[in-house]
Amino acid sequence: MNFWNDPLKVAATWLEGIFTGWGMDAVLAHVLVVFLGVFLLITLLMVLDIFLVWIERKVVARFQDRIGPNRLGPFGLIQPFADIIKLIIKEDTTPEGADKVVYNLAPILSMMSVLILWAVVPLAPVMLGIDLNVGVLFLIAAGAIGTLSIIMAGWSSNNKFAMIGGFRQVAVMVAFEVPMLAMLMIPTIFASSMNMNAIIEAQNIWYFLISPLGALIFLIAAIAELGRAPFDLAEGESELVAGFNIEYSGMKFGMFYAGELLHAFTFGGFWAILFFGGYRFFGLEQVSPFLAILILVIKAMLGYWVIMWVKYTMMRIRIDQMLGFNWKFLTPLSFALVLVTALMNTLLRGADSWLYVTGMFLSNVVVGWIALEIARSVARKERERVEGPKNVVEAHH
């Protein structure tokens, strides 16, 4: 067990040795080392957050056929630091009649709900915060805290637009938790465990290949949970000014904004962990934990890029269309998919690997196709009801 194989344990035992050498109680030393580890992880995440701002602005610029920030530093790399300085020196306003405690607590809870998710992300086979055996449910629990922070922000701003934006955002988040929870059951069925590390260890074949529809629905539900386009009605500038964060200025707004970007990156990471093998890459992760972290970060960046791609390509959907899409299409589809996956998993459990993969893949394709056909016929009936039946075009004699 040297440093390159197991850096966290080596560093922890060395530090505990130093602390007990100074005469500290053993339990207290352990608690202090754990706190230092948490502090280190949060610091690294916030530094990553700064670069996510830069990445976001450069990528949106390229999607919109322009260059993006390129004045400050090489390739505009100093730009996010300038943004942070601007946010910090801005005046910190509190609207009159706002509920001060709740108003100030909301951005803190929002950031906390994102940072707390990284406690269960396995960065490497031996490096993870907590080896929780309900890691998958922890994802939803942290989302619940985020939902609470948004409604606190919306209500405490004493502003009608903020309240409407907060209501809408919370309605969307609570609605899309249902298909997300169902899709989280699919890696659980395959890996027979809710532990994140166990799900990664069981992915000899990436789960994206045996459940592509599951990965897709998880992505859609994740984008809705994040409150990003096409589901960002709560913050659309043309609809609601800025939704629940209208009255927030300065660094509090910075907390919401940076928290949203980090949340998107975290969900890119979870998409990679649950469906793309996490830190595994054909055995490379056994070489060194640092290589495993690098693989996970690259996969999370690719997932984050897909989320950004969707955001900057698609237009915003109306709130009733969003909720109708969830309750009338996505939830029944996700339940049907879980049923079919569980059934096919039991039927094909002992089969050869290629038969298993083909069988699951085809079952996903069939379920998706049937769902699309049903959606298409419902849409056709709706269109006919609104526009009148289409005339059959006579063959031109």
Binding site: V102, I140, T147, F167
Partner: protein, 169 residues
């Protein structure tokens, strides 16, 4: 005083303090937010009791759904945004007396039980509460019938709530 006992006392005081704020504060939104902190304290108690699944489900179901439902209901049932009417009715002393008597009665009755001060048995190694719970909830020899009836109950509540609260224009 071991560390575990100190943690328990801190969490218990936090939970009971938040519960008191729930039932005494005048502003209803604050009461709903104090309920959130009470539920969070209860989730930590579940973790102390080695019931990790219960703790996470508590956060997901109670804080993520029920507390949010309460906040929505409070916002939708108010005429003005400020609560300046007294929140307790005129028999509050009788209610307080009954609550104290109930608490005293419960503690007194339990004290006569021989197992009142027993300590926790050790958790057997390799004990996976989740797989055990899953087996018990889906095995025909165990509790699959109450589980299925509970899901029918939830369906009935879902349909009923949507129907009752539907705004027929």
């Amino acid at each position: 005083m071991t560390g575990e006992q100190i943690i328990f006392l801190v969490v218990a005081l936090f939970t009971l303090g938040s519960a008191l704020m729930v039932v005494t504060t005048r502003n209803l939104i604050h009461a709903a937010l104090w309920l959130v902190s009470t539920l969070f304290g209860v989730a930590v108690i579940y973790t102390l009791l080695n019931a990790g699944f219960m703790a996470v489900v508590q956060v997901v179901v109670y804080i993520g759904a029920i507390a949010i439902l309460f906040i929505f209901a409070v916002m939708l049932t108010r005429k003005d945004l400020r609560d300046n009417t007294p929140q307790t009715n005129k028999n509050w002393w009788a209610g307080a007396l009954i609550a104290v008597l109930t608490f005293a009665g419960l503690v007194f009755t339990l004290q006569g039980w021989s197992g009142f001060s027993k300590t926790a048995p050790a958790v057997p190694s390799g004990f996976d509460a989740i797989s055990q719970l899953g087996e018990q909830l889906t095995s025909p020899n165990a509790y699959v019938l109450p589980f299925e009836v509970a899901s029918v109950l939830l369906l009935a509540a879902l349909v009923g709530a949507v129907y009752v609260a539907f705004n027929k224009k």
